[in-house]
């Protein structure tokens, strides 16, 4: 029995420590990387990188493929948040990054840049009716940008009186302009041409001109030299301009009617059916449920152990050190946001380990959930009438008899429904998984929106799916509650 195992001998702590240390080792031992060349990007930036037929394609991807060919490796493209790309490269999660990344001195302190492969013009998008005709006129207007983009840092430094709205996505920035929440959007000229609506224009005068480079971990000279060589050759042969042309004019290519003129059926068609986009949703749903389920199971395991350690300590005064650890675990996890925990697990703990990101999600959310489950179980245990425990002791029963036969069976009635709620919370919590590149439901809607240039419809669909999952789970919990009430009343 677990209780015996915990109480049994003096080197209990050693045993547990060994177990705890083994888990990450086992996982990390499974796969050691190579023969893969991993590119980190954020695939919502056509024509440089975007989704088509379920695959990430674009100018950057085509160049990256050339690099992989030259090195005789398989290119693996990872879609992460733009502001995660530098950490990806720094922690060797990815070998290099390309996402229309402009050279800045700050970035150059963190990673090494390749030679420029593309000149990028940062421009302003305004509505046709706007009075703004030149970037020089900007004073106190509201301007939307993508967080961490060149336009963001440039405007922040050069235009101190502007109100800068920092969106995670260009699409969201454009949506701000549609809704008149901002006066202008500042971004790269080429994707800007893809994104603008019929009542918008791009100002001819550039905000700033700078250059895109690819990034590698500081000191990775071998890869950097190869990248530079490939870029040089492609430029010489005029290939990069060629690639750019094939990826431009997507809107015309896809022959999609303007968003404003689409009927609901058309919207549904372009958001879900066209180009097999429902596959993103299915993939997202699968990952969301997988992570939530895995995490709740891991959470129950960790939470159960934590709660039992604390209960043993409270009742018998044994396991003092473990109990302090357990308390610290609960406090730290409940006191920090799950997104930070996810990033710490991925970029710090599993630094330089090639590990499946869904597994990282399960681990991170499971560790997170464990702290809450521990408190759920503790509350359940404490809700059991103290008199019954006294009666158990008075009959000569052992602590583990009392826990196993009396306390836990009674506590489970309070614990199970609360665990169901924890699962519901987790299903929604997984949406932050997109940060490290997990394609879960919310990310799926992002991907679709980045192709249809329309946030509204995919978001509503995803919201409905979340709602449906929650409703089904809630129903299951209430059925379970009723059954528990009848059983052993």
């Amino acid at each position: 029995m677990l209780f015996h195992f915990l109480l049994g001998c003096d080197d209990v702590k050693k045993k547990l420590l060994v177990l705890l240390l083994l888990i990450p080792l086992l996982i990390s031992g499974c796969s050691i990387k190579k023969e893969k060349l991993i590119l980190a990007t954020e695939a919502g930036f056509a024509p440089y990188e975007y989704y088509e037929n379920g695959e990430i394609v674009g100018v950057d991807i085509d160049i990256a493929k050339e690099i992989a060919n030259r090195l005789n490796k398989d290119l693996v493209v990872k879609d992460v948040a733009f502001d995660s790309i530098i950490s990806e490269v720094k922690t060797e999660k990815s070998d290099f990054g390309a996402a229309g990344i402009s050279y800045t001195e700050e970035r150059a302190k963190e990673v090494d840049f390749s030679i420029d492969y593309m000149e990028s013009k940062q421009v302003l998008i305004v509505k046709d009716s706007s009075m703004i005709t030149s970037p020089k006129q900007l004073k106190r207007e509201r301007v939307a940008v993508q967080l961490g983009s060149v336009a963001d840092s440039y405007l922040t430094e050069e235009y101190p009186y502007l109100t800068i709205i920092r969106e995670k996505k260009f699409l969201a920035a454009i949506q701000d302009l549609i809704d008149d929440k901002v006066d202008a959007v500042a971004m790269d000229e080429i994707p800007a041409k893809e994104l603008i609506k019929s009542d918008m224009k791009i100002l001819g005068e550039a905000l700033v001109v700078d250059h895109y480079g690819m990034i590698v971990k500081k000191g990775n000279k071998e890869l950097l030299d190869n990248i530079n060589e490939v870029i040089k050759n492609m430029q010489k042969e005029g290939k990069i301009d060629e690639i750019l042309l094939t990826h431009m004019g997507l809107k015309e290519k896809q022959n999609i009617p303007d968003r404003n003129n689409q009927s609901i059926t058309e919207k549904f068609y372009y958001s879900i059916i066209y180009d097999g986009r429902y596959k993103y949703i299915i993939e997202g749903l699968k990952n969301t449920l997988l992570i939530a389920l895995g995490a709740v199971l891991l959470g129950v395991l960790l939470g159960g152990i934590t709660a039992i350690i604390r209960n043993i300590n409270e009742n018998t005064n044994k396991l003092k050190i473990l109990s302090t650890l357990a308390k610290t675990y609960v406090t730290v996890i409940r006191g920090t946001p799950s997104i930070l925990q996810l990033m710490i697990v991925y970029y710090v703990i599993f630094k330089a380990v090639d590990i499946n990101i869904v597994l990282v999600g399960i681990l991170s959310f499971g560790i997170n959930s464990g702290a809450y489950v521990a408190e759920i179980i503790r509350a359940g245990i404490n809700s059991v009438d103290k008199g019954q425990i006294d009666a158990g002791y008075a009959l000569g029963l052992h602590y583990d008899h009392i826990m196993g036969k009396i306390v836990l069976p009674s506590a489970i009635k309070n614990i199970l429904p609360a665990l169901g709620n924890e699962f519901i919370t987790l299903v929604k919590e997984t949406s932050v998984g997109a940060y490290i590149g997990i394609v879960e439901l919310t990310k799926a809607s992002d991907i679709i929106a980045s192709r249809t240039y329309d946030y509204f419809f995919p978001l509503i669909i995803i919201a409905l799916i979340y709602l449906l999952i929650t409703l089904v789970l809630t129903k299951l919990i209430s059925i379970m509650e009723v059954k528990l009430k009848h059983a052993r009343n």
Partner: protein, 241 residues
């Protein structure tokens, strides 16, 4: 068979028992009375070490049990009946009774069942064997709780206010059962507010006040010839109800 020597118990700064000495002989039926908060229930819980005494000795069958590590064996010999019955709510009456003897491997499950049904039959509750505690009346619950103790073949039973949570018409069924057990020679220590019950039921009575034993003697001595002023005042208050 049981000797309590200079027993003290503090809860943090609060001194609840300030030096208790009691000598219990086999077959004794000892009633403990006294005002609320005088430490009666704490004393009872110290005897089977549900509460650990702060200092002092409890000698049970020749051994000092205060620092005993075999609490489980000890508690099998010292039964306890609670004010709130404390039946295991998640188990049937039968399961309640056979849980401890089977888990502690004192009997096989079959033996325990047989024994439990015989005992239940004696208290006319055989037909409730498969009911859950929430389906029983208070008096029935308390009788089941007593049977749960009896099946352990314990040598002494501690009763902590066994009738004070019961409706008046149910008190009798519980005291009748206790009388039967007494007449079979069981050693008992009873904390109770039912002064008349203690008076007629016990051969020895202890009056406690403020953590001390103030007066002890036969039932007759305590109730008919009280000496200490505190006991006199306690009895007069009770009698004036």
């Amino acid at each position: 068979m049981l000797e309590i020597k200079n027993l003290k118990k503090n809860f943090a700064e609060k001194k609840v028992l300030k030096g208790i000495n009691i000598n219990v002989n086999k077959g004794d039926v000892i009633g403990i009375i006294g005002p609320s908060g005088c430490g009666k229930s704490t004393l009872l819980k110290c005897i089977n070490l549900l509460e650990k005494p702060t200092s002092g000795h409890i000698i049970f069958q020749g051994d000092d049990i205060v620092d005993n590590n075999d609490l489980e064996i000890l508690r099998q010999k010292i039964g306890m009946v609670f004010q709130q019955f404390n039946l295991f709510e998640n188990m049937t009456v039968l399961e309640n009774i056979i849980l401890a003897p089977t888990l502690l491997k004192l009997m096989s499950r079959e033996e325990a069942k047989k024994e439990a049904l015989i005992l239940l039959d004696k208290i006319n509750l055989k037909d409730k064997a498969n009911n859950y505690p929430s389906e029983l009346s208070g008096g029935q619950k308390q009788r089941v709780a007593i049977v749960r103790t009896l099946i352990m073949k314990c040598e002494i039973i501690l009763f902590d206010e066994p009738t004070s949570a019961l409706d008046p018409e149910m008190i009798c069924e519980v005291t009748n059962l206790m009388r039967k057990i007494r007449d079979e020679g069981m050693t008992m220590i009873i904390v109770s507010h039912e002064i008349n019950f203690i008076k007629n039921f016990c051969n020895k009575v202890i009056f406690m006040s403020d953590g001390y034993i103030v007066e002890e003697g036969t039932s007759k001595e305590i109730f008919e010839h009280p000496k200490d002023e505190r006991l006199k005042s306690f009895l007069s208050k009770i009698n004036s109800i």
